[in-house]
Symmetry: C2
Subunit: 392 residues, 2 copies
Amino acid sequence: MASVFDSPNKLLFGMGSSKTIGEKLKELGVTKVLFIYDQGIKSAGIVDIITEYVTSSGIEIVTYDKVEPNPPDYSVNEAAELGLRENVNGILAVGGGSSLDTGKGVRILLSYKGPISNYYAKLDSAPLDEKIMKPLIVLPTTAGTGSEATPGGVITDSLTHIKRPIICGVSLGIIDPALHVNLPSAITAATGFDTLCHAVEAVTSKHSNRISDVLGLEAITLVGKHLRTAVKDGSNLEAREGMALAATLAGMSLRGPFGGIPHDLGSPLSSVYSIPHGNAVAFLLAEALSYIAPVAPDKVRLVAEALGADIPAEASSEQIGDIARATVNSLYSDANMPTMKSFIPNKEEMLANIDKFYKPSVFSPRPLDLEAATMILSNSYDKSYAKQPERI
Amino acid sequence: MASVFDSPNKLLFGMGSSKTIGEKLKELGVTKVLFIYDQGIKSAGIVDIITEYVTSSGIEIVTYDKVEPNPPDYSVNEAAELGLRENVNGILAVGGGSSLDTGKGVRILLSYKGPISNYYAKLDSAPLDEKIMKPLIVLPTTAGTGSEATPGGVITDSLTHIKRPIICGVSLGIIDPALHVNLPSAITAATGFDTLCHAVEAVTSKHSNRISDVLGLEAITLVGKHLRTAVKDGSNLEAREGMALAATLAGMSLRGPFGGIPHDLGSPLSSVYSIPHGNAVAFLLAEALSYIAPVAPDKVRLVAEALGADIPAEASSEQIGDIARATVNSLYSDANMPTMKSFIPNKEEMLANIDKFYKPSVFSPRPLDLEAATMILSNSYDKSYAKQPERI
């Protein structure tokens, strides 16, 4: 069993690492845990596996199984009320980003007076004191969100329908790629693209740094190497492990650089049109890379090369952008990702609604005005993602 | 200016980043700082530069300039007494590992009752509460220790002459490779090998993990790429930046895997024979790699390949060990590292004294008994490090 990597969120990564979950809760002093998940994880049989690991350590479980996609404030409030009423002394969140972020919100509300809307963060918000918070262990069941490695989460405000950040880490993230083998291929693809966007946005951020570049570029390399196989053959453990590592590294790479255009536009787009988060951000990645290439050609080159592209040394920044776009589109196609059209029937209506999901991309190396956002959305929409010849 | 990478120790990396040091102290609420350094840093002119950055932010300085190599307990106690007497509300440690580790010890003693010997850590020690401690900013002036990225330090107990670990992080590490350009070539080489040992020990540790492997292997690759140039041409900023990044990544890579044979034997050896730390650990690296190759051939292969070795796919574990040893010895030779003989006149006397610096290497993938330690020391001593043909 691998050791705990003492990152900002402590992380335990490896095949079979979920078996230690009861023991790790005990080490943190937890005797009664609020177990947070959604129905998908239950149906996949993962809840039963984890329940066995937890109860065999003598830990009592209180269940909150109503996690929703793009987790809303009221769900966080409801789960926290349950935890307070039942007097739990720890939290376990298992699932995709929605479960993990719900867990982070609940962690705040077990120590700070609710509702969670009191704790929407601004860039200059002072972090809450995690030392007084109850332990939270998270276990991602997709290779996507990276929330196990990030210092916060995203909660949807139910009054305004706007996604709002909260700041809260975790006591331990346990990443067990063996739990990913039954993930359906469409979710593998969408969450894999979410990972790719995180890493690309970190590396190309105007707030990038050399340390997170190392993590981000390794994540991109792993996606280029393993995503196709993970989508085609979900039981391939090497590919699952590669993608799980990519997701965690990509989450770590965001610590400092924050995000970029695909998430800034795609994340609200996913709320407005009820599109899975990974698909919504993935739509925009290729065009975003081409858009920033003129101002960040070296970074865009690194991204495309990490994905396996061969770029001539003398390529212009425009050519680099074109190659990066083609490289991402080819991966998109190989992973059988659905097109934007298949989720959003009417392009003109989407563009007319742009003020619902446009915001300036603060960390993009190239400023994103409304006109540029319109162009990226429009070009992304027009993509057919015609299937490329299959790689061997 | 790059962003702060929110690692366990927050890290700000980049050319010119030291210019922000006054501003960063202010952000942490520091108005009167204990400035800890040694005479070497003063002579190199770095103290004057940093003093200007600090005082121009209106921060008052109290100076402790008596840092010693292999920092002893009494020096930490003395510096802390000064800090308490002067009522400082923050610490700034500038220099190599000795200054940084002194700073960590002082940080403990500004909040917990001394002497520092009360806080020597065991593997199961509960960490002290850093939330109540005063801010500590560290600025490494060598690309070696990685202490800016590690959760502790090493203090020499003056009664027993044994090195003892303390557990204490830093509020912020600022790594400015521009400050490394005047580092003498011999120190560049020795500290560079210290970095290499950290990363190799992390990657080959039996407590290694996939996340720290990414950081460690990148550090090894950077050493292979930049150490020769940094030694030969200290003003080469690309090489200085590469080595500085390697040192920080290598420090990060130790978070979880801890260390291995070169440090376990070399660190006490450096105390007994007053050998610079980097040299003492470097002596043992090549033979240690060869020794562990039979039980960890894949890891030793990764290390050697990251340093640029070409290893046939069908190589036996013994051959992998031989190639790894030759690769490290070639780097050692190219970097003009002095031999063990030049520090320790009498081999037989050294071996007869082995109980003064032998300890079982807890995290080595291959157990290290007294016989194996004797063999590694003996073989390392016999190396002539004949100069190899110069690479072009």
